[in-house]
C-alpha cells in the first residue's frame, strides 16, 4: 500500500470521523466541566438532531441549509429537557442526574423511533465520487464537514475566551461558588450551556448522518467514542475534546490493522480504560470528577 493510499483510505476517514466525534465530545466536556455530570443522553440528542434535519430535508430544504435550523431546534429541546428532568436534581448527588440522563436517552430515542421508524435513512441518495486535492481524495460532504467543524471550534473558542458569557461559563467551570459570588447568574449560564450543547449535538448527529446514514441507534453507538474523546483530551477542555476526538477517530480507522473489523467499536473503550489507568486527567490536564 502506498503512502497516499494509506492516507486516503485510513487517515482521511479517521480525521472526518474524528472531527465529528470532536463536536460531540465538546458538548460532553462542557456538561462535564460546567454542570459536573456525565450526560448519557448526548448521543440520542444527536440522533434527534439528525432526524430533525431529515424532516426539514424531506420538506424541501438542502441538507446544509437544514443544519442551522436543526441546531436551533435541538438547542431548545436541550433547555426544555434540563428544565423538566435535570434542574430539580441539582441539590441531590450528581449521580442522580446521570441516571435521569440515561432515562432521557431512552425517551429521546423512543420519540425518534415512533416518529421516524427504525429503518436506516439518508439525506440524499446516490453515489458521490470524491475529488482529488493534491493527491488527497475528498468528497464534497467530507470537505464541508471538516470546514463546519473548524468553524464551530474556532467560533466556540473565541466565544469562550473573549465574550462576557463565555467567560462566565469558564468561571462556573472553574469554581461555581466563586462565580456566583462574582455576580455570575448560574441559572442563565446553565441555560446557555444547554443551548450550546444541544446545538453541538444536532451538528454532530447531522454530520454523522450525511457522511453515512441515519438510524435510531446512531447516537447511542457513538456515545462511548465521544466520552472516550472527552476524557482522553481532559474533561472541561474544548481543545482537549478536539484532540481526543481526532485521536479516537483515527485510532478506530487504524484498528483494523490489529483487530478484526467487527471490533472497531472496542477501540474507544480500550483507549478510555488506558487513559483512566495512566493519566486520568487527560492529555491536556483537565478535571477529574
Amino acid at each position: 500500500m502506498s503512502f497516499m493510499d494509506f492516507l486516503n483510505f485510513h487517515i482521511v476517514p479517521g480525521v472526518v470521523l474524528g472531527s465529528i466525534y470532536a463536536v460531540g465530545a465538546i458538548g460532553i466536556t462542557l456538561v462535564f466541566g460546567i454542570l459536573r455530570f456525565s450526560h448519557f443522553a448526548h448521543g440520542d440528542m444527536a440522533t434527534l438532531g439528525a432526524f430533525v434535519a431529515l424532516a426539514l430535508v424531506t420538506a424541501g430544504l438542502t441538507p446544509w441549509a437544514a443544519l442551522p435550523i436543526a441546531m436551533a431546534a435541538v438547542a431548545v429541546v436541550a433547555i426544555v429537557v434540563d428544565k423538566l428532568f435535570y434542574d430539580y436534581l441539582k441539590a441531590r448527588p450528581k449521580i442522580m442526574t446521570v441516571m435521569a440522563s440515561l432515562g432521557v436517552a431512552l425517551m429521546l430515542r423512543a420519540v425518534v423511533q415512533v416518529v421516524f421508524g427504525v429503518d436506516p435513512r439518508t439525506y440524499a441518495s446516490g453515489i458521490v465520487r470524491p475529488d482529488e486535492y493534491f493527491g488527497i481524495l475528498l468528497r464534497d460532504r467530507e470537505l464541508y464537514t471538516l470546514a463546519a467543524v473548524v468553524a464551530i471550534v474556532i467560533g466556540l473558542t473565541l466565544f469562550l475566551r473573549h465574550s462576557r458569557w463565555g467567560k462566565a461559563m469558564r468561571a462556573m467551570s472553574d469554581n461555581p461558588d466563586l462565580a456566583r459570588l462574582s455576580g455570575v447568574d448560574n441559572r442563565k449560564v446553565t441555560m446557555l450551556t444547554w443551548a450550546i450543547v444541544g446545538a453541538l449535538c444536532a451538528a454532530s448527529g447531522f454530520m454523522l448522518g450525511i457522511n453515512n446514514e441515519l438510524h435510531s441507534m446512531m447516537g447511542w453507538q457513538v456515545l462511548l467514542p465521544m466520552f472516550a474523546a472527552a476524557i482522553l483530551g481532559g474533561v472541561g477542555r474544548v481543545e482537549g475534546a478536539v484532540l481526543g476526538g481526532l485521536i479516537v477517530g483515527i485510532a478506530e480507522e487504524l484498528s483494523i490493522f490489529i483487530l478484526p473489523a467487527q471490533y472497531k467499536a472496542a477501540t474507544a473503550f480500550a483507549l478510555l480504560l488506558l487513559i483512566l489507568l495512566v493519566r486520568p486527567r487527560g492529555l491536556l490536564n483537565g478535571k477529574v470528577l
Partner: protein, 314 residues
Amino acid sequence: MDLLGLANYAVFMAILIGIYALLALGLNIQWGFTGLFNAGIAGFFAVGAYTSAILTSLPATGRLGGYELPLVVGWLAAMAAAALIAWPIGKICLRFRSDYLAIATIGIAEIIRLVIRTEGWLTGGVRGVTGVPRPFGDLDYMPSQIAYLAIVATLVLIAYLLVERQVKAPWGRMMRAIRDNELAAAAMGKQVEARRLQAFVFGSALMGLAGALFVHFNRSITPEAIDPMIATFLIWIMLILGGSGNNRGAILGAAVIWIIWSVSELLTDRLPTEVAVQAKYARVFIIGLTLQLVLRFRPEGILPERQAGSPPHR
C-alpha cells in the same frame, strides 16, 4: 383464557420475577448500599447466561461446548465469570466518581455484545446456544415449571438472606458510611476503593447467576434474547421504584415493574400491526418517563431504606 392457562402464565411470570429479583438484589448491593452506577447489567447477565450454557449444554458442531457438566458447576462458573469481568473494570474505575464506572460499564456491555455476536466458535454467533439442560426438564410441563420456580425462589431467598445479613453486619454499616460520606469513611481508616470493588464484584456475580437461571429456564440463548439498554434500564427502575437500599424493596420493585411491563406487552400485541411497532417504542418512552417521575416524586421508592436505630421513616 381458562384457569389452567392462567395458572401456567402466573408460574411463568413468577419465575421471571424471581430472576429479575436476583438482578435487582445484585444492583442493590452495588447501587443501594454502595452508590456504584452499573449501566451494563445486561452484559454481566449475558456473561453468566453464556458461561453456564456452554459448560452444561449438549455437544454441538461449530462452537465450544458440550461438556455436559452438572448444573451447579455451570451456575458457579457463571457467577465466577461475571465477577472476573467486573474485577478489572472496577479496579480501574472505582478510584473515580461513579460516572466513570457508568461509562465503562456501558462500554463493557457493548463489548460483551460484540464478542457474543462475532465469536461464533465460542457462542454460536447469531444462532446462539441451544440444548441447554433444564433441571426437572423431563417432567410434564406444569410440574417442571413449578419445580423450576421452586429452585428460583430458593435461590432468591438465599441471596436475600445472605445480603440482608451482610448489610446488618458491620460490613453494611461501613458500606453505607462509604456511600454517604466517602471522605469521613476514609478518614476513619476504611479502605474505600477495596470495599467498593468488593461490592461491585459481588453484585456482578449475582447478576451472572441470574443470567444462568434465565438460560436454563429458556433452554437456549441467542444474542437477540437481551436488549442491553432496555434490560439494564428495567432493572434500574425496579430498584429505584422498589426502594434502593432496601432488599425487600428490590424484590417488590422487580415484581411490580415486571408485571406492568409484561401486561403492557400483552396489550400492545393486540393492537393492529401498523401501530403495534410504534406502541412497542412508546412503551420504552413510558419506562423512561416512569424513572423521571419516580426520581421526582418518590426518590426513596415504595419501601424506603431503613435507617439503623430508628423506626422506618416517612
